[in-house]
């Protein structure tokens, strides 16, 4: 029942071990150089932007400020990391990636803003995207907040419904008999296919979106919850019964906690589905949100805005994922070491 987070941790551990092996043999000079190079690569990108003449009409200030900020961050990281050997090792380990990132950004800028080689409007330069983010900051922020509101409301209701339904199906024979086939059958249909129906059922596009996300989240969570409850060892129920437990105790203190790992794997599956449902439903029906923003920008052929909103989406959804993993690790702390 190991979720992606667990796997992630595992691979992190192995790369860390490999990295520490690799760093052990390096001289101090070599180590210092390795951690300094990201500063130079982002500095180079900044210098390029500042010195070379451009061939595209672009607001350059936001991009330059961003590069300056990154350069400063990498520069400050060196003395900060020096205080702990773990951080120092991490700084060295991450270094090649950031060096490459800096060089790539410089190259990208060169090919777009400076030399105008890549076709516009489909491949805007980094400067243009950064410029658009600042220029359109207010709309982007509102769109993000709108999407988050839709996601959080839909997700919470959907998870709750899914857990309740899953517990009923997992615990009561009759609920299982009548509802499980339905869940199994309808569970394979992507919620986005229900957009036309949702729009008829619910007049407001916001609540239609909520309904779709609720459906998208509810099915996998209900499915995994009921499976999880069925999978709880019978001996735990027997132990609880000999301790004087009533049915309420058996459900809430044995069945549900025992099913928690499965519930979280359902929630994890549901997260990905809910992102897709959110974006598609916003693209089709809504008048706000990041999905709507992408579609709107596309309508104006403003691909810089499309990329800007995709980047913001990536950041936002990553944060949502991280929050869910944090909650899972807290709830399942009893499981640590047991799984993996």
């Amino acid at each position: 029942m190991s979720l992606a987070g667990g796997k992630l941790n595992g691979s992190k551990l192995t790369t860390q071990a490999a990295a520490s092996k690799a760093t052990r043999g390096r001289s101090v000079l070599h180590q210092g150089l390795l951690t300094t190079l990201p500063v130079l690569s982002f500095g180079l990108a900044l210098a390029l932007s500042l010195t070379l003449p451009g061939q595209q009409e672009v607001v350059l200030l936001p991009y330059r400020l961003l590069l300056l900020a990154l350069t400063i961050v990498f520069a400050l990281r060196i003395p900060a990391a020096r205080f702990s050997s773990a951080r120092w090792r991490k700084a060295q380990q991450d270094s090649p990636f950031y060096i490459a990132a800096g060089l790539l950004v410089a190259l990208w800028d060169l090919l777009t803003t400076k030399l105008n080689v890549l076709p516009l409007p489909f491949v805007p330069g980094p400067a243009q995207i950064a410029g658009v983010m600042v220029e359109d900051a207010e709309t982007l922020l509102l769109s993000t907040l709108y999407s988050l509101r839709l996601l959080v409301i839909g997700f919470l209701i959907g998870s709750f419904c899914g857990i309740v339904l899953g517990v009923l199906i997992g615990w009561y024979r009759k609920w299982r008999y009548w509802l499980f086939p339905f869940i199994k059958f309808m569970g394979v249909v992507p919620a986005t296919a229900l957009i036309p129906i949702a729009m008829i059922l619910v007049p407001s596009s916001f609540y239609a979106g909520v309904l779709l996300i609720v459906i998208a989240v509810c099915f996998p969570v209900a499915f995994m919850t009921s499976n999880g409850i069925e999978g709880v060892q019978n001996t735990y129920f027997e132990a609880a019964r000999t301790l004087g437990a009533d049915e309420r105790y058996l459900i809430f203190k044995v069945a549900i906690p025992g099913a928690m790992p499965a519930i979280f794997s359902g929630i994890y599956t549901a997260t990905g589905i809910s992102f897709a449902t959110l974006v598609v439903s916003e693209m089709i029906g809504a008048r706000a949100g990041l999905g709507w923003y992408i579609n709107w920008a596309k309508g104006w052929s403003n691909y810089a805005k499309v990329y800007a909103s995709i980047i913001i989406m990536a950041i936002t959804f990553s944060i949502v994922m991280a929050v869910i993993f944090r909650i899972r690790d807290r709830v399942l702390k009893w499981q640590k070491g047991l799984v993996k």
């Binding site: 132990a239 019964r241 301790l243 906690p257 009893w334 047991l338």
Partner: protein
């Protein structure tokens, strides 16, 4: 702490003509128990010993109310047993602690299940101390050793102050040293509490070391073959002549009880 346990008037188990038939994996009926009669005195320590399939665990589950009797009846202090009740505690072979609860929460589970925790919040700590786990209350079951888990399991069952405690091979999965340690622990708790103890074991020495009476069972159908009373003082010396004599006597019975299996099978 020598001699007999505290006099107790409660915890008398009476088994009257109990039988039970199972369907085996092929669907054929298998007689797990046939016409078992037995009276267990309140506050006594009784062990069931016998080959696999002799119905000793079946009988324990019937007393606990985890399964239903097919024929006959079992009473506790005159009341017919129907379903589980906290008066009849059960310690499982694997400690069977709830992995999502800390050791202390596991021990407190019985109080919470009975909704009396609010009136005795300090009781779990008392029981943690009783089994020597006061420093491990916050740990989760997977973080403690098998012996500690089984101690916690004992405390979890005892916190409800059951009249009868069933011990279903509770020490079977432990190493020899931990095992002997926990045997003394069991003895101490029994003498302290005067709870009627019913133990299922494969270990003849364990049965002789702990019990007032040993019920030797035979298989197919599961039934009582012989009852051995033990009058040795506690703590018992495993190398005393009487101990050794009892051991060979019971081993002989077991060898005879199982039809074709070798002696080592029961050790």
């Amino acid at each position: 702490m020598m001699g007999n346990p505290v006099e107790k008037i409660t915890g008398a188990v009476s088994i009257r003509g109990v039988g039970r038939v199972y369907a085996d994996s092929a669907g054929n009926p298998m007689e797990a128990l046939r016409d078992v009669h037995l009276d267990i005195a309140p506050g006594s320590f009784v062990s069931f010993i016998g080959p696999s399939g002799c119905g000793k665990t079946t009988l324990m589950r019937l007393i606990a109310g985890l399964d239903e009797t097919a024929s006959g009846e079992i009473t506790l202090d005159g009341k017919v047993i129907d379903g589980t009740h906290y008066e009849r505690g059960y310690v499982f072979q694997q400690a069977n602690l709830f992995p999502w609860m800390s050791i202390r929460q596991n021990i407190a589970a019985g109080l919470k299940a009975r909704k009396v925790y609010r009136d005795c919040r300090d009781k779990p700590d008392e029981y943690l101390r009783m089994v020597g786990l006061e420093d491990f209350g916050r740990m989760y079951p997977h973080q403690v050793s098998g012996g500690m888990a089984q101690r916690a399991s004992l405390a979890r069952a005892l916190i409800n102050e059951p009249k009868v405690l069933m011990l279903d091979e509770p020490l079977g999965a432990l190493d020899a040293f931990t095992r002997m340690n926990l045997q003394d622990e069991l003895l101490r708790l029994w003498q302290l509490r005067g709870t009627t103890m019913i133990l299922v074991t494969h270990d003849v020495d364990e049965a002789i070391y702990l019990s007032d009476r040993i019920i030797v069972m035979s298989a197919r159908p599961g039934s009582i073959k012989e009852i051995v009373d033990i009058d040795m003082e506690h703590p018992r010396d495993r190398s005393a002549p009487e101990f050794i004599r009892l051991r060979s006597r019971i081993l002989e019975m077991l060898h005879f009880a199982g039809t074709s299996r070798s002696l080592e099978y029961y050790l």
